[in-house]
């Protein structure tokens, strides 16, 4: 499926892009990698959860609303987050700022292209929906500090 790599991918993928990604579960220690999922689309949140559990991440919560996302971040239970940029019409920008303020890494998963996103997300890797599962896992590993 090489053609899927050619177009539509976010620029920031370049730093994690790698055609020889390791198998999802092998050779990577995900212990204590607690991830928060911020996604308003229930089915996508569920799919992310399934995917990340399979890749041996720990899911600390799924937030479909900004308030809930902020509550998770403030409670200090997560090491990283996956953010949908837009939560039913509400920007997830404040969640990005809250994560950045705590030095927590996060990546953006959005139907918007990077240039359409608010400045609050600047600097974070950005993946465009729909995103291949292995790319997402690789991107998430890339933002977490090596153990």
């Amino acid at each position: 499926m090489e053609f899927e790599r050619a177009g539509g991918e976010c620029v920031s993928m370049n730093r994690v892009g790698n055609n020889d990604e390791p198998p999802l579960t092998a050779m990577f220690n995900n212990q204590h990698r607690r991830v928060l999922i911020v996604e308003d689309e229930p089915i996508l949140a569920f799919a992310l959860e399934e995917l990340l559990i399979e890749a041996e991440f720990e899911i600390v919560g799924v937030a479909t609303r900004l308030e809930k996302a902020l509550a998770f971040i403030e409670s200090g239970v997560c090491d990283a987050a996956i953010l949908d940029a837009n939560l039913a019409g509400v920007s997830a920008g404040p969640a990005a700022l809250a994560l950045a303020a705590r030095g927590l890494p996060f990546l953006i998963l959005s139907g918007y292209s990077p240039d359409q996103l608010s400045n609050a997300f600047a600097g974070a890797p950005c993946l465009q929906k729909p995103c291949k599962p292995e790319r997402l896992v690789a991107a998430l590993r890339a933002i977490l500090p090596a153990q």
């Binding site: 479909t64 139907g111 729909p130």
Partner: protein, 477 residues
């Protein structure tokens, strides 16, 4: 006869008149003078006609023959009315002519001569009283200049002036006329004064940078330089402040024209604020459509993955297209409600559209008006779709008598909750499934996430029971 006179073969001409015969000498010294005069007059491009005191033609030159379409032989001795009828442009002109002739012996003026063939000529005439040696009036000499063409042209110019002036006056674009030499405004149409809030007098004499169209004099100069090279310059997007401080986006098209040897610049200034706004809006909408489309593709991707992971590979395509059907029904509703939430009853009807004949008999729906958030509507919509699919395959809608009751309510507690239930009765005996399918995840964990609530699934022998409860603030818009 005329040829005889012109060639000098005749010595004299006798013309019968009411006052008796008149003798015109054509030979001798007098005749030579007369002939010479005649030759000169014949060369004149204006029509020349001499009348005697009885208003009969005694002379007409070549130009008069041509102008009135009559040969000298046919005209000589005839009354003026046999050659043309005079009409007056203004009723008082006729009397003015008579007065002028009486008092001064001459008249100059403009009127219309209608030829015998009906053709009307606009003419400028000079009429002089001819006198005998003793000073007695002997007739009149008329020199007639045909101005029909000029008049027609003037009329056309007048019509054109009215027409194009009206365009200028009523245009809904601002129009400025500039002098390329001084770069100053020499005219501005009413719309321009309206756009800027300056009067025409305030605009005339100013340069474009002085009315805020360009930043400085250098920019104004640059426009004129560009114009002399290209004859037209276009600025797509210039900010313009009116005197009242209103900000407008304008498009300026400047043309350099030659106006009868004098160059002028015409600037058309169009307010494109609205157009800009609507372009921005369209751009925003397109980005939004793109975002939603990609989001939906991601949803389809997730549903496809889950459908393939949970369930028999042989029925994958059928199960997937059935779920895509459910997603499409949900999408329709969200769009119809402009992504501002969905009424529960609308959501139930949309997801149960296949069973609409059973609604009211085997499918009972009951609940108050309540508007779900977009996320809740998506989660509950998918759950209803899975419940309906399950009911028609294995549950209360798989036989001919089973019933489904769908109900929702909002509890009036300190922390109000949104409750929704799906209760099946009278279907085949139910046994709890041995392994968890995707449908069960959708009506369980997934919908719980969507509403931040709790979903309880009980496989009662007489029928499935599904109860969802969620804090109102998480589920309702």
């Amino acid at each position: 006869m005329l040829r005889a006179i012109r060639s000098g073969e005749a010595d004299a001409l006798v013309v019968e008149s009411d006052a008796g015969p008149q003798v015109y000498t054509l030979q001798g010294v007098d005749a030579e003078t007369n002939r010479l005069r005649g030759e000169m007059l014949a060369q004149v491009s204006d029509a020349v006609i001499a009348f005697d005191s009885e208003d009969r033609v005694i002379y007409l030159n070549n130009a008069a023959e041509r102008l009135y379409g009559i040969a000298a032989s046919a005209a000589l001795g005839r009354r003026r009315s046999k050659i043309y009828e005079a009409r007056w442009l203004h009723p008082e002109d006729e009397a003015a002519k008579a007065t002028a002739l009486r008092d001064h012996g001459e008249w100059r003026g403009e009127n219309v001569h209608v030829r015998r063939d009906g053709r009307a000529l606009n003419v400028e005439s000079g009429v002089t009283i001819l006198r005998e040696g003793a000073g007695q009036p002997a007739g009149m000499l008329a020199v007639i200049h045909d101005v029909t063409e000029r008049k027609r042209h003037e009329d056309e110019v007048l019509v054109s002036e009215i027409r194009y002036r009206r365009l200028f006056e009523t245009a809904h674009d601002g129009i400025l006329i500039l002098d390329p030499g001084t770069r100053k405004i020499i005219d501005a149409n009413p719309f321009m004064t309206q756009m800027l809030g300056y009067s025409r007098n305030q605009l005339v004499g100013k340069e474009l940078f002085e009315i805020g169209l360009f930043e400085d004099q250098a920019a104004s100069q640059e426009m004129v330089q560009k114009l002399t090279r290209a004859n037209q310059v276009r600025y797509e997007n210039l900010p313009l402040e009116s005197q009242g401080g209103r900000h407008q986006e304008v498009e300026v098209v400047a043309n350099l024209y030659d106006e009868n040897g004098c160059p002028v610049i015409q600037c058309n200034i169009r307010d494109i604020t609205e157009r800009k706004r609507s372009e921005e809006h369209v751009k925003l909408l397109m980005a939004e459509v793109n975002h939603r489309a990609k989001n939906l593709l991601a949803v389809v991707q997730a549903v496809a993955q889950a459908t393939s992971k949970y369930g028999d590979p042989a029925t994958f395509a059928a199960r997937l297209s059935d779920r895509i059907d459910g997603l499409a029904a949900g999408q329709d509703l969200l769009v119809r409600n402009q992504w501002q939430g969905v009424e529960v009853s609308d959501l139930v009807e949309a997801q149960l559209a296949h069973f609409k004949d059973l609604i009211g008999t085997r499918v009972l729906i009951e609940g108050p008006r309540a508007r779900l958030t977009t996320s809740a509507a998506q989660g509950i919509g998918m759950a209803l779709h899975e419940l309906a699919t399950n009911a028609v395959k294995y549950g209360a809608l798989s036989n001919v008598e089973g019933q489904v009751r769908i109900a929702w309510q909002i509890t009036a507690a300190i922390k109000p909750a949104f409750l929704m239930s799906w209760l099946e009765d009278g279907g085949p005996k139910v046994a709890a499934p041995t392994r968890k399918g995707f449908g069960q995840i959708v009506i369980g964990r997934m919908v719980e996430t969507a509403v931040e609530g709790i979903a309880e699934i009980i496989f009662r022998e007489r029928g499935l029971s599904w109860n969802l409860s969620a804090p109102v603030e998480n589920a309702l818009a």
